[in-house]
């Protein structure tokens, strides 16, 4: 999966799960301050990302350091590179 595909699918998660307009989905956007997600939304986000990419990320500590949309792209890319185990 290419970087562009990962960005596209991650953005799809935000559009489908949170109905956030495509125009707002820029890598520098802070998911809390700019996009308005809270801790419970993060749980929904994790589930949606797991389903979209077929990876397990619920107990991954790196998720705590995520602040921007760009951080999520990088995180998913690293998971894919590590060949994370399929969850479904």
């Amino acid at each position: 999966m290419t970087e562009q595909e990962i960005i596209k699918l991650t953005n799809q998660v935000f559009e489908e799960s949170f109905e956030i307009e495509k125009e707002k989905l820029k890598p520098e956007m802070n998911i809390f301050q700019d996009l308005g997600l809270d801790s419970l939304d993060i749980v929904d986000l994790v589930v949606a990302l797991q389903n979209k990419f077929g990876v397990k990320i619920r107990n991954d500590d790196r998720i705590k350091n995520i602040r921007t949309l760009g951080d999520i792209y990088k995180f998913v890319l690293s998971l894919k590179a590590e060949g994370a185990s399929p969850s479904l």
């Binding site: 949170f18 109905e19 308005g36 801790s39 419970l40 939304d41 929904d44």
Partner: protein, 253 residues
């Protein structure tokens, strides 16, 4: 110089009266409610206790600071929706929880950790069933909030979670909107303006002014059914933001 003197007098009088009224009013009101509770059910006792808290709040926000601070409450809800309600308000000042006494309903507030640590007031808030959202997992919060709503008690939330530092509307936390989606109770946006400096964040100094509170139309279950919590909280946030701009004359109604 004259203004400074006026400000000092106002604050001195207010805080003396505040301490005096709290020392007398809280024990007297508590004693009356405790005595009445002997003869009535626990539920009715709690109803009276929460009403007593509202009276206390009304004295603090309307009587004690008058005429330096005026509070104007307007109910703009024409829907005649039956309660209980989930009230969601913007949060600019430490006076906001007291201002909620203007709502003519039996209410409990969702608070942060620190209000429970206030002497006397924190204890009374705990007794009244106020919910400290950060001290419990969401499942427990949801269960307790649902229980209160099912008993007919409305819930007041400041979904920004903390007072705004610059008056702008912060992002909303979604816990209460998840409860709304689970239970279907109507959500009512509240907008407070004019209290930014009564008192400002980080100080206890009160400045004279007029506080306006607008209660907007109830958003009933049919209107938000099928929404995600994220969508509901942002819809309510936008309604509050729009009304605040109207109240502050930044845009037309």
């Amino acid at each position: 110089m004259k203004e400074t003197l006026k400000l000092i007098c106002f604050n001195f009088i207010f805080y003396v009266l505040f301490i005096f009224f709290s020392l007398i009013g809280i024990p007297v009101l508590s004693a009356i409610v405790a005595f009445q509770s002997i003869f009535i059910s626990h539920r009715n006792g709690m109803k009276k206790f929460r009403r007593a808290i509202s009276w206390y709040g009304l004295v603090i926000i309307k009587a004690l600071p008058y005429p330096f601070v005026k509070v104007i409450y307007e109910d703009l809800d024409k829907t005649k929706t039956a309660g209980p309600f989930i009230f969601t308000s913007n949060h600019r000042s430490a006076s906001d929880p007291f201002l909620m006494a203007c709502l003519p309903y039996e209410c409990v507030q969702v608070v942060n950790i620190w209000p429970f640590k206030l002497p006397i007031l924190g204890f009374m808030a705990k007794l009244a069933g106020y919910l400290s959202v950060r001290e419990m997992p969401f499942e427990e919060f949801s269960k307790k909030a649902t229980g209160l709503l099912n008993e007919g008690v409305s819930i007041i939330v400041f979904p920004e979670g903390t007072r705004s530092a610059d008056g702008s509307l912060g992002q909303f936390h979604g816990s209460i909107f998840r409860v709304a989606l689970e239970t279907g109770y109507p959500v009512i946006p509240l907008c407070i303006t004019g209290n930014d400096k009564i008192p400002a964040r980080g100080t206890l100094l009160l400045r004279p002014g007029t506080i306006k509170i607008h209660k907007l139309s109830a958003i009933i279950c049919d209107e938000y059914k099928g929404f995600t919590p994220y969508k509901l909280k942002n819809m309510v946030r936008q309604l509050i933001a729009d009304e605040i701009e109207v109240m502050e004359g930044k845009r037309n109604a």
